[in-house]
Assembly symmetry: C2
Homo-oligomer: 239 residues x 2
Amino acid sequence: MTVNENVGAQDWVTKLAVDRERLDRGSAAERVTEILRQRITEGFFQPGARLSEAALCSALGVSRNTLREAFRLLGKDRLVAHELHRGVFVRVPAEADIVDLYRMRSIVECGAVRDLRHPSQAQIEAVREPVRAGLRAAAEGDWRAVGTADLRFHQALTALAGSARLDELMRGMLAELRLIFHLMASPREFHEPYLARNEEIVGLIDAGENQAAARVLAGYLADAERQLTEAARALAPSI
Amino acid sequence: MTVNENVGAQDWVTKLAVDRERLDRGSAAERVTEILRQRITEGFFQPGARLSEAALCSALGVSRNTLREAFRLLGKDRLVAHELHRGVFVRVPAEADIVDLYRMRSIVECGAVRDLRHPSQAQIEAVREPVRAGLRAAAEGDWRAVGTADLRFHQALTALAGSARLDELMRGMLAELRLIFHLMASPREFHEPYLARNEEIVGLIDAGENQAAARVLAGYLADAERQLTEAARALAPSI
DNA sequence: GCGTAGCTGTTGTTCAACAATCCCTCAAGA
DNA sequence: TCTTGAGGGATTGTTGAACAACAGCTACGC
């Protein structure tokens, strides 16, 4: 044993697993992918922007081939659109995308909530925490933080299903959703009405009223979809 | 106007869009991806098989860079596992993958069925047809065909939600499922019991009994999951 | 048996080159 | 004025070669 034997084995094994992801952050292609993913979702690259190979190669200091591997991964996540012989562009979500996305969210999120059987206290706390963070941020008037807390809330709802694949799917959908947010809407008007509903949903889950929670959530999503599609339609003529 | 003016504009535009997909079948990377995807799902490359870059390059007549782009796409679909500095391998699904996959299927498929509001006759027919094909194949003793008909049935069920993203998600899940099938199970023992249930589900949908159809489907999936995990556990010691 | 140094084959990444394609400009013609 | 077509420049698609970095194996010494 070369490691301090006073520490339980399971203990430092999990800690190493956490550090591991941080150290060997995979290949260059994967690192580039993460950088671009973050830049796109945070709005640094605006929807419709062209991602020139030559420019990004010199900016990031990687070769074209490495960059192209990253483009392929981002394309699978629908964050960029790969147009043959024309280049790679940050995706510009259309109204159809909003509808499609919310149809999927409704099925996934409501399904995760409805099928919930015996939620652990830790699971409920994971859902409650983002709600509190949202309320706190709203009190301070930080509407950008309210938005990210809202996304974390929905991510936690999906995590109730306990499926790694579903979690990754949800991550992708929320990233695409942030792309839609960049096209429109002041964060306040969009997120404020949902703070109370988030609390309501958590309360129902805590009380074991899954069906009711799923119904409230479905209404939540339907309203958000309507709000976004109307904003998109108002914006469409300008395009 | 150089095009026949007797034909409505919208008419030939949609026709061109169809041909378009057939003509520019994408880049070499995408074609290689499709070839490998088919080869993996049909079992030509067995789970655990190493996909050597050099071998595939010469076999397919493409460069390493192109092949690596294809590997990235297949990795996102979880058909291959990319191990840094070790290579690319056809994925070997574990028991945890079966559980995860079926948790997701249950939410997605049952959700699509339960939320169904006004199914068109065409939609119902799209679900009914694979069921008929399955029964026909069973009568002829072609159990491999029964399996593919079953997958088409579930694909059609998911399509009831009317979401392109959900359809693609389902395609990916079913491809991964075929990977699991290759690890075990005679097609007959696995698919035969579900022929009758598929009929029952279609009947319930046709009668507008969505809730009941979703319940039957949930039972269907739970049973299939149990069957697969038991087979996997019996197979595990050999690995 | 154990650890270690070296060897070998594979992958990770870069670079340079060329082909294919798009897009813009501009001129000719109806 | 509008359409058509021919260049030309810029960008992407793809290849091949080269080298670095790494995993797995072998053989050696202890």
